[in-house]
Every structure is written in structure tokens, then in C-alpha cells.
């Protein structure tokens, strides 16, 4: 009888042996009951392992996708390149500054640094992007430990070939992950940008059309604001605060925003405000659902309408999950199917998944 083939049995059952090795093993197995039994047992090990299940804490898979989206959102720049944001800032300046100067109204002193920071942010942070090429992928949030940990791995213990493998799809991505975390203010500003990005996809081409004017306009605004007087109330009320869009763009009248999306005055702010609401109870979720539906009724063809319809469904599904009322679920199913029948529905996959996730 030939020598035992134990060290090759694992590769044999995986069909990873060369033909000659395989033939040798098979020859041995025909005459060695011990090794043949080991083949069966190793297969059984795999079978037992495959039959084992795992458990995650209750609700983990319900929230994970949203958590990941939230981690990606704050610095999501891809759909709205930095130069487009700078353009938005420039447009704001072009509109606000002459009016402010003509009317003799100037921002209050406390508004200066913040406004200047907001406007200068894209240019200061990514001068090349503003000047030429928009960044291709969003970088990651400052939240969580991932960036530091990944940065450490980049330096130390990640195997070289593993890096090559993972980098094959995108080395730039790893660099983005390893980048230093932005300060909190920047993250907030980036969150606002991300909300714009998600909400205002249709706005991008319009903004892009006037791109070349952006960097100069942004610079001009910074200078203007630094030179303005001190005691008047701000033209751009801080009431808009965090709800104001990424470039600090005030809710200007539609006529003053040529080329931008056909959004009714205040719609952007309302969209962001609703986006920031989290339902803690079924009642909260129903109220949020109703608010989203009201939003859609006010602006059924607006740039946020599609997202708002989906968010209404999500809020409805949350109401069902939190409260367990069949009416809530029935409403989501009905409205979800209505959404799927819409010719202009942009997120059907998401709604299908949402419907599939409803408990029977």
C-alpha cells in the first residue's frame, strides 16, 4: 500500500490537486480505509460548519445600512464637485453682495467668520479640485475608529499583496480612508453638502453650467465679507444656521437663482429639516411620514419629490416596525406599489427592498 495521503486530503476534497496528484490520492484511497474515512470526515466537517448559523444582536441588520450611509454622507462630494459648491457660493455672493451694498445692509460681526469659512472651505481644503478636477469619490466620515485603524494598517501590518488586491479596484480609496479626520465644523458643513447631494441631484448640471466663474467669485465674497461694517444685523439670518445649504447659500427668491432647480422657496431647508428628523416612536414615524407626504404635495414635481416619496415610505415602514399596526404596514404596501408604478420613480430598487423587508 502506498504512503498515507493525509496532508493532501484537504486539497483533494477541494479539487485543488494537480491531475497527477489527484490520481495518486485516488489510487491510495481505493486501498486505504483509514484515509478514505478521513476524506468522509473532512467533508463532514465542512458540512457541519456550513450548517452552523450565526446571530447578530436584534435589529442590527435593520440599522446597519443606514449607519453606513450616514458614515459615507458627511464628506460625499462626488455628485457635487467642489467647484460646483464654490460656484454656488459665488452665485450667492453675486446676488447678495450687490444688494447688501446697495441697501446699506451688512452682516453682523458674528456672522463674518462663519460665513467666510463656509465660502472659503472648498477652495481652502481642495484648491486643486476647485481649480481643475473634481474629486472622483467621496472620502469618509470622521466618525468612528475606522480611519485611524485603517491608517495604522496602511503603515504597519497589512500584507503587501493584500493591499495590492484590495487596491486593484481603487488605491485612491484607501488613501481617502487614511486621510486625517476633518474638524467637527467641517463635518457638519460636509453633512449639509451631502444632504444637498442626495436631495438635489437634478441641480448639479445647472450649477455646473456656469462653473468657470466659481473660484474668483468665492474669493471675492471672502474679501467683501471681511470688509463689511460691524453693527447691522446679518443679511443672511443665522436662523438658517445648520439648515442652510452647503455653500451658505441663502434661500434666495427663485428669480435670483437662474439655472438652479425649480425648487420653491424654503423647500431645500424643509427637506433638510425633515431629513434630520429621527423617529423614536411609531407616533413620531407617522408624523414624519405625514410631513414627507405634505412636502410632496406642495412640490410634486420638485427636485426633492422623489426622495421625499421614498422617505415617506421609509417613515411609514418605521411606524410599522415601531408600532406593529397593520394599518401602517398596509399603507406602506399600498403607497410603495403606487411608487413602483410611477414612470419617474428613481429609487425603485430601494422601495422593493423596503417592501420586501416588511414583516408579514
Amino acid at each position: 500500500m502506498s504512503a498515507h495521503v493525509r496532508e493532501r486530503i484537504s486539497a483533494y476534497i477541494d479539487r485543488e490537486l494537480t491531475p497527477s496528484d489527484r490520481a495518486g490520492v485516488e489510487l491510495h484511497l481505493r486501498e486505504c480505509a483509514e484515509c478514505a474515512r478521513e476524506v468522509d470526515e473532512l467533508r463532514a466537517v465542512d458540512e457541519v460548519a456550513r450548517g452552523s448559523d450565526f446571530e447578530a444582536p436584534a435589529g442590527y441588520f435593520e440599522v446597519l445600512p443606514g449607519r453606513l450611509r450616514a458614515r459615507l454622507s458627511p464628506r460625499a462630494r462626488a455628485p457635487v464637485p467642489a467647484w460646483a459648491l464654490a460656484l454656488a457660493a459665488g452665485l450667492a455672493v453675486a446676488v447678495i453682495a450687490p444688494i447688501a451694498l446697495r441697501e446699506g445692509r451688512v452682516p453682523a460681526p458674528e456672522a463674518h467668520p462663519r460665513a467666510a469659512d463656509r465660502v472659503a472651505e472648498p477652495a481652502a481644503e481642495e484648491p486643486q479640485a476647485v481649480a481643475s478636477v473634481p474629486p472622483s469619490r467621496p472620502a469618509l466620515s470622521s466618525e468612528g475608529r475606522a480611519p485611524e485603524r485603517l491608517a495604522r494598517r496602511e503603515r504597519a501590518d497589512e500584507p503587501a499583496a493584500g493591499k495590492a488586491r484590495m487596491n486593484a479596484p481603487g488605491r485612491a480609496g484607501a488613501a481617502g480612508l487614511a486621510a486625517p479626520a476633518p474638524p467637527p465644523d467641517e463635518t457638519k458643513a460636509a453633512e449639509r453638502r451631502a444632504v444637498d447631494t442626495l436631495a438635489g441631484r437634478r441641480e448639479v448640471p445647472a450649477q455646473a453650467s456656469a462653473a468657470p466663474a466659481a473660484p474668483a467669485a468665492a474669493t471675492e465674497q471672502v474679501e467683501l465679507r471681511e470688509e463689511t461694517a460691524e453693527d447691522e444685523p446679518p443679511l443672511v439670518s443665522d436662523n438658517a444656521g445648520p439648515e442652510r445649504d452647503a455653500a451658505g447659500r441663502p434661500p434666495a427668491p427663485p428669480a435670483l437663482r437662474p439655472g438652479l432647480a425649480r425648487s420653491r422657496p424654503g423647500a431645500d431647508d424643509e427637506f433638510r429639516s425633515l431629513s434630520g428628523r429621527a423617529a423614536q416612536s411609531a407616533a413620531d414615524a407617522r408624523a414624519l411620514r405625514d410631513a414627507w407626504e405634505a412636502f410632496v404635495r406642495k412640490e410634486p414635481d420638485g427636485p426633492h419629490a422623489d426622495d421625499a416619496r421614498v422617505r415617506a415610505l421609509e417613515a411609514g415602514a418605521a411606524a410599522w416596525r415601531l408600532g406593529g399596526l397593520r394599518e401602517d404596514r398596509a399603507r406602506v404596501v399600498r403607497d410603495g406599489h403606487a411608487y413602483l408604478r410611477r414612470p419617474d420613480a428613481a429609487d425603485k430598487e430601494r422601495v422593493r427592498a423596503l417592501l420586501a423587508g416588511l414583516e408579514p
Binding site: A11, E38, P65, L68, S73, R137, P159, A161, G173, L355
Partner: protein
């Protein structure tokens, strides 16, 4: 699998190795920066990726870190992902690589790993087969705990993801020969621990040479 509400034409995740056209659309949207599309991709693959990570790192909090890192990395690299290739094996390879590094990291070593998942309450006593099965699962857990993270990674990628040795080697930055030897040792240790419980599984697997 949950029952679907009526009228829903839901696209289920593709079989391993297959490319689903609907998924390709989702990936295209995600590559364009659509976070909702990416969120849907996460929704489809999160259990599979979590399973890969948990089986290697053996603890939920670490698995959660790995899963998030894996998806975030995947998003970062999505621009160059070939949509003609299946997403599942790709993201699982990323997760396995991160998982091994994660467990190997000093930060992780400082935290004592649990003795065994068998410390969790056992199932209610039932028929003999069920008891044996439950004991077998616990024995498997203990044996998996005793494997090195590197052994667990090759075992998970082979047995659960059905990757080839070359694919595993690429994912973990090791040679195919190392894959072969680690897998052989991992299986030998698991076999040793599971011998009393292998009968049912052997009948299920059919036995006999390949």
C-alpha cells in the same frame, strides 16, 4: 426568507458567482455616488459579510467594525470595480482580509477573546439528535475559537464562500501553498474536535471519494 407583500417583484440577491443585471444597475448608480443605491447593496450583502467577519473575529463588536470597514472600503474602491464580476465574493474577500488584520492588531490582542461561545445558554434539551446537534455546534464553536485567525480565514473563505485557493491566496496575501497547508491543519483540528458528532453530517454529505 421573509414572505413578500403581494405584487412585489423583488430581485433576490444573485447566486454566488452569478451577476444579477439589477445589481449591476445598482452598482452603476453607487459608482456614480448614489448612496441610496449603495445602501441597497449593503442591505443585500450585509448578512453574508457579517457572517464572514464574525466567523473569523468571533465577536460581534469586532465583526461590526470589520463589516463597516469592509463596506466603506468597497465604496471607496467601487469606481474601479468591474460590474461584470459578482460583488459578493469581492466584498467577502475584503472583509476576510480586514478581519484577519483586525484580530491580529495590537488593539484587538489587548482585549481577551472569550473562552468560548459555548458559554452562552444552551438550547432546551430535546430529542437525542437535537441534543447531539446542539453539542456539535458548541464543539464547533470551541474548535473554531482555538484556530488561529489565519486558519479561520482560509476555512471561511473556502467553505462558506467557496473561493479557489488562488482567490483565497490573493485575498489574504499568502501563497496558494500556504492556503493549502492552513486549510489542511484547520480541518484536521476541527475534525478532531467534532469526531463524536460527525456521523449525521457524514451521512448527509454522502461519503465516498470525490
Amino acid at each position: 426568507m421573509r414572505a413578500l407583500p403581494p405584487e412585489v417583484d423583488i430581485t433576490t440577491p444573485p447566486a454566488r458567482g452569478a451577476v444579477d443585471p439589477g445589481e449591476s444597475d445598482l452598482l452603476a448608480k453607487a459608482q456614480g455616488g448614489n448612496l441610496f443605491a449603495f445602501e441597497e447593496i449593503v442591505r443585500r450583502y450585509q448578512r453574508r459579510v457579517y457572517g464572514t467577519a464574525l466567523r473569523i473575529v468571533r465577536r460581534h463588536d469586532l465583526a461590526d467594525d470589520v463589516v463597516q470597514d469592509a463596506f466603506l472600503r468597497a465604496y471607496q474602491a467601487l469606481g474601479r470595480f468591474d460590474r461584470q464580476r459578482p460583488f459578493g465574493p469581492w466584498i467577502c474577500r475584503i472583509a476576510a482580509n480586514l478581519a484577519v488584520n483586525h484580530v491580529r492588531s495590537p488593539e484587538s490582542r489587548e482585549q481577551a477573546l472569550p473562552e468560548s461561545l459555548a458559554e452562552t445558554p444552551t438550547a432546551e434539551p430535546g430529542p437525542l439528535g437535537a441534543v447531539l446537534e446542539s453539542e456539535g455546534r458548541e464543539a464547533l464553536d470551541r474548535a473554531m475559537d482555538r484556530l488561529s485567525p489565519e486558519q479561520r480565514a482560509v476555512f471561511v473563505l473556502r467553505v462558506f464562500e467557496e473561493l479557489s485557493y488562488q482567490e483565497i491566496a490573493d485575498a489574504l496575501a499568502i501563497s496558494p501553498g500556504t492556503v493549502m497547508s492552513r486549510l489542511s491543519r484547520a480541518r484536521a483540528r476541527l475534525r478532531e474536535a467534532l469526531t463524536p458528532y460527525l456521523g449525521v453530517a457524514m451521512r448527509r454529505a454522502g461519503g465516498g471519494p470525490a
